[in-house]
C-alpha cells in the first residue's frame, strides 16, 4: 500500500512523536509535594498514632510599619475601610502572623515517603472573602481539588485573579451582591498569589498541597499541624516578605502520638532574600525613553 520511502517517513514521524510525548510527560519531581493531585499513591489510613507539629513564628528586629492604603479611587472602599493598612508584615509583640507552614517532604516511620500516599480531599470548602477591600484570610491553605468558596462582601465590584505557575490562570469579576463562586486547584503549588485587578493593593496567597499537613500562623505567631504520621520531615515556613517571599526550612521528627516543636524566626536580615520558591515575576516595563 505504501512505498518503501513513505513507510520510512511514517515510521520516523511516529517515533519522534512518541519521543516528544514521553519527554513532555516526564516532569522531574523536586519534592514530595510538587506532584499533581492524582490518586496513583496508596490511600492513607490513620493508625491512631499520629502526632502534631507545633510552633511559633517570631520576627526579630524592628518590625516594618504597616502603611495606610490610598483607597480614594473607590469611595466604597474608603467608606467601608477608612483605615485600611498593608498586611504583608502582620507582627504583634514580635510574633508573625500569615506565615504558611507545611511539610515539604519526608519519610514515615515505616520507611515510606509522604509523597507515596494519597489523602482524602476535604469536601468542606475553604472560604476566601473580599471584605473591606482586602482578602480574608490573607493566607489560605487548601488541598488539591478542595473547593474554595469566594465571596464578595463589599458594596463594590472585585475582580479575583489567581496567578498560578502550575495551575490554569483564573480571573473572574464579582460584582457587589453577586453569588459566591467556587474554584478548585488541581495541581499542588506553594504558593499562588491572588490579586484583585480592580484594587491593586489587594493580595492573598493560596497554598495547595496534596496532603493536609499545613497551617497558617495566627496573630500570636502560633501554628499547629495535626494528624501527622510519625516520621522525619522537612518542614517549610514561607512568608511573603522579600523579593519572591522568604522560606525557612527545618528537619522535624514527629514521635508517635507526640508533638514535635518547630519554631521559626524571620527578621529584617531576611528581607529581600530570594526564595527557592518560584513565584511569578513582577510585571516588568522597560522605560527606554528619558525625559
Amino acid at each position: 500500500m505504501f512505498s518503501k520511502r513513505a513507510r520510512l517517513w511514517l515510521g520516523l514521524i511516529a517515533t519522534l512523536s512518541l519521543l516528544s510525548l514521553a519527554s513532555s510527560c516526564g516532569g522531574a519531581k523536586t519534592d514530595d509535594n510538587t506532584n499533581t493531585g492524582d490518586k496513583s499513591g496508596k490511600p492513607f489510613v490513620a493508625k491512631g498514632d499520629e502526632g502534631t507539629i507545633t510552633g511559633k513564628i517570631s520576627y526579630t528586629g524592628a518590625a516594618p510599619e504597616a502603611k495606610k492604603i490610598d483607597t480614594s479611587a473607590d469611595a466604597a472602599c474608603t467608606a467601608k475601610s477608612p483605615n485600611l493598612t498593608t498586611e504583608d508584615w502582620a507582627i504583634k509583640d514580635g510574633k508573625l502572623a500569615n506565615t504558611y507552614v507545611y511539610i515539604k517532604s519526608g519519610t514515615l516511620a515505616d520507611g515510606s515517603k509522604i509523597g507515596d500516599w494519597t489523602f482524602e480531599t476535604p469536601a468542606t470548602p475553604a472560604a476566601l472573602d473580599q471584605n473591606g477591600c482586602h482578602y480574608k484570610p490573607h493566607v489560605l491553605g487548601v488541598m488539591v481539588n478542595q473547593p474554595i468558596t469566594i465571596t464578595n462582601s463589599d458594596p463594590t465590584t472585585h475582580n479575583i485573579h489567581f496567578t498560578p505557575k502550575n495551575n490554569p490562570d483564573w480571573n473572574q469579576s464579582q460584582p457587589n451582591g453577586a453569588a459566591s463562586m467556587t474554584h478548585k486547584l488541581a495541581v499542588a503549588e506553594v504558593l499562588i498569589p491572588v490579586k484583585c485587578n480592580q484594587h491593586p493593593w489587594m493580595k492573598s496567597y493560596v497554598g495547595v498541597t496534596k496532603h493536609p499537613f499545613f497551617a497558617v500562623s495566627a496573630e500570636d505567631g502560633s501554628f499547629t499541624i495535626k494528624g501527622v504520621p510519625p516520621g522525619k520531615y522537612t518542614v517549610v515556613a514561607w512568608h511573603e516578605g522579600g523579593a519572591n517571599g522568604t522560606e525557612k526550612t527545618m528537619e522535624v521528627t514527629v514521635p508517635a502520638k507526640g508533638s514535635a516543636p518547630a519554631d521559626f524566626s524571620f527578621g529584617a536580615s531576611a528581607l529581600g532574600q530570594p526564595s527557592s520558591l518560584q513565584m511569578l515575576p513582577a510585571i516588568e516595563f522597560p522605560m527606554p525613553m528619558k525625559h
Binding site: A73, K195, N197, Q198, H199, W201, M202, A282
Partner: protein
C-alpha cells in the same frame, strides 16, 4: 412617498443642527489655558462641517422630492456626472480639511511636542489595569530611582520606587493627581501593562499612555477644583471603573502639600479631596 422621505430628511437635518446650535448638551467648562483655543478650533470645525452637512442633506431632500415616483411614464436616464464639478468639490473639501488640520495642530503640538515651560511642576503618571498612580518628587523635586523589579502592589510600591535611594525618601505615590492652579504642569505618562488614556474633559486634554514609553506632556490649569480623570482607552474588563480625581489647588495649598513627608502627604491629600466637590452640570 418621496415627499414624506424628503421631509423626514429635512426634519432630521434640522433637529441635528438644533442639537448643536442650542448648546443644550455641550462640553463642560474649560479649565485650562489652552482650553479656549481647543474650543475655538472645535467651533470653527463644527461650523464648517455643519454647513456642509446641512447643505448636503437639504440637497439630498431636494433630489428625493424632485425625482420621486410620479404618474409620469418617462424612462429614467443615465447620467455620467460632471467631471469638473467632481474635481471642484474634491479639491475644495481637501483644502478645507487640510486647513483645519494645520490650524488645529498648533495647539496640539504646543502641548505634546514642545518642551514644558520653565517652572513647570513635574509629576510621573503610571497607569495600570485598572488604577492610576501619581508619583510626586517631594520637597527635593528630584524623583527617586524606580525599578520595575521592585514593583509590589501588595506592599503599595506600585511604581517600583527604590526606598534605598536618598532621593526617594520624600517621594509620594498616591491615586490622586494634585496640581497647582495657574502654573504649568508636566506629566510623564507611563503604563505598566496595556495602553491607557489620560483624559480630563474639562482640561480639553487627552493622551495615551503606551507601555514601554515615557510620554511627556504639559498644560496649565486656570481654575481650582476637583475633576474626574477617566481612562479613555478600552484597557480591559474593568476599564469602566478606572477613574481617579484631579485636584487643582491654589499655589499656597499646593506648596504646603508637596512639602509634606510621605506619611502625611496622603492624609492631607484625602482632606483636600473631601474639601473640594465635583462640578455640577
Amino acid at each position: 412617498m418621496g415627499r414624506v422621505l424628503a421631509i423626514a430628511i429635512w426634519i432630521i437635518t434640522l433637529g441635528s443642527v438644533w442639537m448643536f446650535v442650542s448648546k443644550r448638551w455641550w462640553f463642560p467648562e474649560a479649565i485650562s489655558e489652552h482650553g479656549p483655543r481647543v474650543d475655538s478650533q472645535f467651533m470653527i470645525t463644527i461650523i464648517v462641517v455643519g454647513v456642509a452637512f446641512a447643505a448636503a442633506q437639504i440637497g439630498l431632500g431636494w433630489v428625493v422630492w424632485k425625482f420621486r415616483d410620479t404618474a409620469s411614464t418617462a424612462r429614467a436616464t443615465y447620467s455620467h456626472g460632471n467631471n469638473r464639478l467632481e474635481v471642484v468639490w474634491t479639491v475644495v473639501t481637501a483644502v478645507i480639511f487640510i486647513s483645519l488640520a494645520i490650524m488645529g495642530q498648533k495647539v496640539w503640538a504646543s502641548l505634546h511636542l514642545h518642551a514644558a515651560p520653565p517652572g513647570s511642576y513635574t509629576i510621573e503618571v503610571v497607569a495600570q489595569q485598572f488604577s492610576w498612580n501619581f508619583h510626586y518628587s517631594g520637597k527635593d523635586t528630584v524623583f527617586g530611582r524606580t525599578d520595575p523589579k521592585l514593583i509590589d502592589d501588595s506592599a503599595l510600591n506600585y511604581v517600583g520606587l527604590d526606598d534605598t535611594d536618598p532621593n526617594a525618601k520624600d517621594d509620594s505615590v498616591v491615586s490622586t493627581l494634585v496640581v497647582p492652579v495657574n502654573r504649568p504642569v508636566e506629566l510623564i505618562l507611563k503604563s505598566k501593562d496595556v495602553t491607557h488614556s489620560f483624559f480630563v474633559p474639562q482640561l480639553r486634554f487627552k493622551q495615551d499612555l503606551v507601555p514601554g514609553m515615557a510620554i511627556p506632556v504639559h498644560f496649565t490649569v486656570t481654575k481650582t477644583g476637583k475633576y474626574e480623570i477617566a481612562c479613555a482607552e478600552l484597557c480591559g474588563m474593568n476599564h469602566y471603573k478606572m477613574k481617579s480625581y484631579m485636584l487643582v489647588l491654589p499655589e499656597n495649598e499646593f506648596s504646603e502639600l508637596i512639602a509634606l513627608p510621605q506619611d502625611k502627604f496622603q492624609a492631607r491629600k484625602d482632606e483636600l479631596l473631601n474639601k473640594y466637590q465635583l462640578p455640577q452640570y
